[in-house]
Symmetry: C2
Subunit: 634 residues, 2 copies
Amino acid sequence: MSFNYLSNEKLNIARDTYISKLIENGFKAKTEIVKVSESCGRISAKAIYAKINAPHYPASAMDGIAIKASDSFGATETTPVILRKDQFIVVDTGDPVPESCDAVVMIEDVIYQEDGSAKLFQPAAPWQHIRQIGEDICANEMILASNMKITPAAIGSMLAGGVLEAEVIKNPVIGLIPSGDEIVLPTGNPKPGDIIEFNSSIFSSMLGEIGAKCIVYPIVKDKFDLIKEAIGLALSECDIVILNAGSSAGRDDYSCDAIASFGEVLYHGIAIKPGKPAILACQNEKPILGVPGYPVSGIIVINEILGPIIDLWYSKKAKKETAKATLSKAVVSGLKYEEFVRVRLGYVNDKLIASPLNRGAGVVSSFMKADGIMRVAQNLEGIDAGDSVDVELLKPLNDLKNTIVAIGSHDPLLDELCDMLHLRYPNLYMSSSHVGSMGGIMAVKRGENHIAGIHLLDESDGKYNESYLKKYFPRGGVKLVECVGRTQGIMVAKGNTLGISSIKDLAKDGVRYVNRQKGSGTRILIDYLLKKEGIPCSDIYGYDREEFTHSSVATQIAAGSGDAGMGIYSAANIYGLDFIPICTEQYDLLIPDYAWDSQPVQKLIEILKSDEFKERLERLGGYTLGHPGEIREY
Amino acid sequence: MSFNYLSNEKLNIARDTYISKLIENGFKAKTEIVKVSESCGRISAKAIYAKINAPHYPASAMDGIAIKASDSFGATETTPVILRKDQFIVVDTGDPVPESCDAVVMIEDVIYQEDGSAKLFQPAAPWQHIRQIGEDICANEMILASNMKITPAAIGSMLAGGVLEAEVIKNPVIGLIPSGDEIVLPTGNPKPGDIIEFNSSIFSSMLGEIGAKCIVYPIVKDKFDLIKEAIGLALSECDIVILNAGSSAGRDDYSCDAIASFGEVLYHGIAIKPGKPAILACQNEKPILGVPGYPVSGIIVINEILGPIIDLWYSKKAKKETAKATLSKAVVSGLKYEEFVRVRLGYVNDKLIASPLNRGAGVVSSFMKADGIMRVAQNLEGIDAGDSVDVELLKPLNDLKNTIVAIGSHDPLLDELCDMLHLRYPNLYMSSSHVGSMGGIMAVKRGENHIAGIHLLDESDGKYNESYLKKYFPRGGVKLVECVGRTQGIMVAKGNTLGISSIKDLAKDGVRYVNRQKGSGTRILIDYLLKKEGIPCSDIYGYDREEFTHSSVATQIAAGSGDAGMGIYSAANIYGLDFIPICTEQYDLLIPDYAWDSQPVQKLIEILKSDEFKERLERLGGYTLGHPGEIREY
């Protein structure tokens, strides 16, 4: 093998070494000639000089008559000058001014006589209302320097200056090779074990956004010869080649060997998480990257390694916008790797709050939900809640300022609220994190959210929410906004083949229960119900298997990986499950006073009160509506 | 005629009325179904729900073995558990976990025995290292709300959720009809009177940037029937139709009548300058705009009227970034119209300075140079120098912070410096305004520029620049940086048919002189030379005809619209003129102390000292170089 196996190198060191190597090998942008009219957004490869003057003839700047200025000298209100028909020429704006003339008089200032002569009541200054040759652009003048982005106005200037073609930086062509035996093209009906190949679509969209043109090659099976052949083809057609998947230490990993047969492998494995086993290699000046199959890992490698390479191609300095944020939840990290943690961001109480998202490398949805990325340095054990952190922004700060941060209990109605809010008010957004009712209350206490969905049963009086607020907010500072009544019950597979009809049945042999996480209202409910029935938790198989939303509990049951779980009717309905109703509970919104007066929250209240909200909930099913949006006394 | 002729209405009122009318008539976005893999950057027309779970089977999150967790209970370092070959299954990351198993043990924690059994030294927790069904995305979950921009990660989420197609907002199709008898397609060789049709390229680039798809129709002659036919065709194919040119009050203006024959004309003429005679009309819900032929007018109308219509189509709120700036030069305005003044912006001394650019409606290059737009309200006579103004930004503030603001005397070498600076340091820019040497000195005194090119002759000692600095900066605060010696002389047409050989000859009959503006070093020089020869200015035809750069004087002579002008050798050389050398002058850079230490200025000094600068000047010709970049004592 011809390559160094340098695992565990720090990302920035690996990247810088890699890029230095590429430059040393002669990596630089190619250029191409394009039509100026189609060059918008491209980067000039050379300084562009005008070929002709604009205007290219002395042009009238007004509708009027062209004259010799000296013919009009002496004209006043009382002693007008009369010009014979052969002393002037009628011109419109843009018309050429004849060489014999050196001034234009506006039509408003001309009185035509019956014999066709023109009367002027004031003298014309020489060169007045004439656009001189080259007034706009002089031939040979530099219109655009090298390396400049071509704007619409620059296109106009070039065409006005007679420049019809321009040499611009060619968009780099990047070949993406998806590989792996289990990989299949996107489908709505995958078989177990099939891994849907969506990485190429993500990567080519990302790369398209930063100016690259992607060729996605057919999926290659995990065979050395086939991979080698695919890389060879891509190298012959592209400026940069990315081999996706196969770069972890799995059974069938030929990536590194195949890449090494074409060039030099500088790194195999970098100390970042997620994204560890990337391969950085090159065939002379041509970068070849092996990118791990997990989408989040791949995205990190594209962002952190390939982004700077494309920037280098375009001679740009990467400009990553960052902001200081307060971390809402402690992040524990391994010491071994630099970790990239996706975070949700929200402005609450004028403070930017960062909430860490699911950190799995395969969880592509976490990237969609992410508003920013926080780095946890190598050799750092983690970061505490409340710490100030630097976050790289993935969304404009302004959008974040218009985003309602919902942290609390989950209900599908939150998605509907989010949709209605953004439909009615396109500049308002809502982002939801599901941490359960108690999590929502704690977030309000820490000042980290605008609303929290809560449904907390007080065992002593069977009422919902009120006693909790008295306990956690003894001095007020929050409003309880009525939302909905909803039916809680046991969700079981269609047909209920295990014959589950009560809480007791959950302890039956062969029943795989799927639980909700501690602190969620639904967990508090099942704990209470079991206590009432005198059933110990340990009697229930799967009681430790925790999911974070009604939907994910329902999903396990629908998919057959669990048999029963507590949840609300609408979730059972959506997933086509049978449902054994147990009780009706009150699901309300807790809104702190600091958020109450904000425009987004007030718009949300307005939507809660709307007929459309009622209609949408009827379609979901299992809800009873009193007066959603009203403030409830407690 | 069926339309109201409402001239002189304020822009924002006309626009709001027009948009209300369009909404009333049912204007709204069309939608279309696209492949998710090709949907990056599009806007979701409806909420998008997952069709399948991701993962759609319980998947191993590690390379290792899948086991039943309970089989491993009790394992410790001292009492390992041994699993028979039928008690585990080897899995790679992403492999399905069989239904009989509920945990995965990482390969690192497994010791294989010789008989194929596996030894574990610690128990596995149920569900460890298993990605549960739907961990990433649950079927039926809302992936994206309505009206949201589709990001690369959203594409990944949709494909992972089995969604292969999405309903998105269709890009509006805009038909552009260029019209006018003098209009010709872009050419490097236009005839006098030809007007090059570059507006469609500017407009379609601008509209493309905000998400529209443009169809540019062939140029239509100014005939009522032809224009009507073209509009009819465009209306049948497009969502919005723009008729360009012909909307001013010229001889052959059929635009308004032609448009009126298809729909309702709401406005013809709006009180903005430049951009006055726009036509706002509609055929039911379909907007038809008549846009004036002058490019700057057209750009304003596209920005101010069509921009908000496209935003409405996409349900976006227009977000125009603005900043407070200090006006460097008074702007006088008419009372009749709201005026849009293009400005150059620069950060000098931590203050954002706005310098007004050429205000002609035809000067497309001014839009290219513009960094922002300042509005002068109707009924306001103007704004004073030093006033604080609101400026709408056309460039990111960050780029402006890295821009050297050069205000002073013109020399083509400034363009070369600008090119070299941006080539070497892609994040650094230089913007030049040509106001003459005295203008440059005054700008430094007001703290508005970083450098000023100056070449000011002291008549008393024949020296350059030094005495001026002693006079204008008696307490210092500026550095004089040596730049070049350059040859000044008389530029005349190739062949010098008028036989001009000295300053005296400029007063000869039939010689049309082209002058430079007052305050420029070249003007001070010619004033001095004439005084020395005892020739009164009034003896020279064209002495009042002022141009602002060497290039534009040379251009007039090269184009035959003038016969002689003072200028530098390099300008004569670029334009192929004959040149009668008169003297050598010192052209230096004045750099105030407040700008001296900045990185861009220091990089510029570095470039002045470079060999490449010398080589470029040799190519231009007429320069003598001593030690460019050195500080000159004075």
